[in-house]
Subunit: 323 residues, 4 copies
């Protein structure tokens, strides 16, 4: 293997640049030529491919977003699109790929390998942390910290006005972001897709709190909660407690950006190196991850199909801590 390429795909996450940097430098360290592909599979199809040097990735370790841009590709879903992508890679002499992204990215890479034999090793780049095969995904720690520091600011005003704040954080399918936000943000209640928390339970918790002379409350809502969005949940609770002075805040896309935390830079650096070394070792269609402090490679098929369960103790923690 002489030439490899790296791309980012799917929703961007903080630390993707740190990972790109690690891929580029470890490729060079190992005597490989390294190329960047812009806009994920779209750029692969269009041949938006360029040679990267060590200096191309200078001073990017601390930057949010991705210098390689990201996009979802409709064309790569078609056989014709993948054929074009293969032609472009062949033309550039690229023999292996490093993909930084999530489920969708790895599904495409799997298919591409079956059809055209170009091996891909993946790094888990997503703030959602819901990928099997790694304790943490690149960007998750940063997203959680961004959310918690925002919640700290909200608590300032919640306390001053003795209000109930419903704060919506990211997490369409899981409470991975919501849980540490609730624990670390000092929230009284958390509502996540994995657990059924009824409106009655929220109403009870608020009433119990007031009876114990708590005067302000934070309710963390994962965007995919079964009771609806933060706006909907606040409205339902308001109906039961008309005198409640409530506000809703949706943290939104700020959670995707920003300088990555130390942990995300470290993880991204480790996994970027592991992707290149995995390719050199002849691996294909595997995701590099860290499980219990050890580097592991997990077949894409497992990362896509297996579910990483949330620690069930966290609900109890929040009950204890909001006493």
């Amino acid at each position: 293997m002489k030439k490899i390429a790296v791309f980012t795909s799917g929703g961007d996450s903080p630390g993707m640049n740190a990972c790109v940097r690690a891929v580029v430098r470890s490729a060079i360290f190992n005597g490989l030529e390294i190329y960047g592909i812009r806009r994920g599979y779209n750029g692969m199809i269009k041949g938006d491919i360029f040679k990267m040097e060590s200096s191309t990735v200078s001073n990017i370790i601390q930057r949010g977003g991705t210098i390689l841009k990201s996009a979802r590709s409709k064309d790569f879903v078609t056989k014709e699109g993948r054929q074009q992508a293969y032609n472009q890679l062949k033309e550039h002499g690229i023999e292996g790929l490093v993909a930084i992204g999530g489920d969708g990215t790895f599904t495409g890479a799997n298919l591409f390998y079956e059809e055209f034999g170009i091996p891909t090793i993946g790094a888990p780049g997503t703030i959602d942390n819901d990928l099997y095969g790694t304790d943490f995904t690149i960007g998750y720690d940063t997203a959680v910290n961004t959310a918690i520091y925002a919640i700290d600011k909200i608590r300032d005003t919640a306390d001053s006005h003795e209000r109930v704040f419903f704060v919506e954080v990211m997490g369409r399918d899981s409470g991975y972001i919501a849980i540490p936000c609730a624990v670390g943000g000092g929230a009284e209640i958390v509502m996540i897709p994995e657990t059924k928390t009824t409106i009655e339970k929220v109403v009870d918790a608020l009433k119990t709190g007031w009876s114990r002379s708590k005067t302000s409350f934070i309710v963390i809502v994962a965007e995919g909660d079964e009771e609806g969005s933060a706006v909907e949940i606040a409205a339902k609770v308001q109906k039961e407690i008309p005198q409640m002075d409530a506000r809703v805040t949706i943290l939104g896309h700020v959670q995707r950006g920003g300088a990555p935390t130390a942990a995300d830079r470290m993880l991204a650096s480790q996994l970027g190196i592991a992707c290149v070394e995995g390719l050199l070792a002849g691996r294909a269609c595997e995701m590099a991850g860290i499980v219990n402090s050890e580097l592991v490679y997990t077949p894409f098929i497992e990362t896509i199909t297996k579910v990483k369960a949330l620690n069930p103790n966290y609900g109890r923690m929040i009950d204890i801590l909001s006493v």
Copy 2:
């Protein structure tokens, strides 16, 4: 004058605590006894009044929110409510008040002075910066910085995905927060209540940008813009440009909290001292402010009725900077 009291009222803003601290310490420095009143006029009516010492305000200069809590008072609007407030103050022997708040707060204080002769000096505590009589209000600089650092994060993801972001910032009646967010956030377009910016103009600006190969855009929307909220404006623009990949973020209450900036701590400290010294000098019904680096006292009636106009050059700045 031997005893005075301080309270915070209206929407909370970062730096209120720094101002409370300055009021307390300069009162003590000047040999006065100083009391705190909780929850603004509500606490005055209920007698929620307590003696403050120098140590009561230790280690609060950096904290968002207000340790004195804040609330809007329905009862103070009535003569009966004000009578009760007066009775409470009299009972505690309080001869002067420092009010940290905005328009509504000062209106009440004016009336209260006419009826009961208790003088109030005010400090402008609001993130909105729309008070006549001071170049900046306490909390404004922090709110703008909070918004800009959030926009920095949004730009990371906007660039990575080549999207158009509509970001709503606070400002029901003015563009004071929106303008520096647009200039400092590197936005292409700003929509504020003071200036009419049509949907056509936004559409044109986006199309011109794309034609110059700009790939991502940030549109800052003050919540009080005449074209509607960020959600509404994004929908209107989307209708004209169906292929636009747009997202909306509402920064919301995070703008109210957080550790105050250096400028807000300095301003809050100066004005807190000025309030106490104003009372001691026999002033009443005036707001302390800084205009062109000079301390000035402005009658409440002027701060309430006069309009502080936004610098009209800012629109041109954004046109230039987004070339």
Copy 3:
């Protein structure tokens, strides 16, 4: 067991307050009375002990430092001092202790248990991360993030002026803080107590870098490095390369303060609960920690005597990433 007490001891670390909060609330959740002891063993000897309620720990989860204060105690080293401490605890009816601190704290607790039979469970509160029995100590993640964000700022000016910066971070006996600072801060060289890095090697690395047209460099120095402090190392290198434009920055005590990160709040909360539950389960002289995502209790004697080795791969990572 009906009454327990909590104290913080040794160097303070961010997250101690989050841990105190968790101890207090889980004690109350479990029907215990909970007391706070100020200034560690000194307060225990002097009887500076007070009852804590749920509200005592409201709104402290995000605060750096420790509301219980911390100190090193000379008197507790003596039998007489410990006797006085025991008398005070007995007088208050305290039957168990939660100690948040490090090696010295646990050594004292061990002795105290042998002599007087009061059981202590410990939580690892130190930024140094050098305690056996937990993957991370409370405060470590925050300290590393604080250092990395400072290094980001230094890199701005290093790049602008094309200088070599020698940045000293905490770590008298280990490179636990220096290593992620070097990886995440994009440093070219790291000097830690565990590994011998000669001045010649630094000189070579700089010369190689310049020959590859690198123009600015960051050298991270753990304060306990065998070649000396950052000031001394910079002077030695300067002697070999007189034309080098170098600067030294010592990050110092800023690394001890600040709002704890999400990970530190989560860890502190988990371990605070675990300390109380450990006492209730009849444990004594053990430290609660998280190893590979699992809660474990490790005898104090092991945390004090066993060494937690640094991952030896990190040196190689820095070589690769600074290519």
Copy 4:
């Protein structure tokens, strides 16, 4: 005038990039060609000059440091060096210059204009804020905020351990940075070059504080204080109060970097535009600044020779606030 060039010179400061961006975009807005010169006068002499487009300055408004690099030039001090610089500019057809820097930069530009007739307009880019002709220099607000947030962290640990911290901030000739750090950082004492504060006064202040049961103290020292560095001052005080538990922290170069604050981005943007418009209006050898919210141009000779006096009230403020 058809072609102009921009460069940064002297110590870098946060907001220089925002200013470069504004210069580039307003040049293009006004139909000019715009060039960048790397490494200040050094690059001018060597012809390190390149054409800039609007996209060259995309996404730099938030970045610390300067993409144009900065350096002090020994060669520009010589007539021969300036002749070479002139030749280079002539070769590129450059008719006007925008210099972002401080005293030294403007002195050189003055001489250069006298000899070769190339007009320069300057923007005040320095964290020191000691330039006559503008209320604030670009980077000052950011440097002060960086310092204050660091002092917040130090206060956490100062409080926890009840220590005296001597914190050294930048300011070789003035207390411009030290004063807001002391006011906003809640310091008890400030030592600046403009005012004589004796060691006796520090000792007295500490003793008075302890007698009022203050337990921790922050002393802010401007690096140019006449009593010496923070290390020296701490040692002198320690000699008088042997039992004092003191620590020293030197904030150092972190104050130079980091994302600029809102105020610095706004100021840098305004002044960058003003520099270009000044050149177009036929101005030369003047610095653009903002005084009392108004744009003013001040001859370089005045910015160099006149002294901007520190507000003398600040000392009194700190006395009041540390009561």
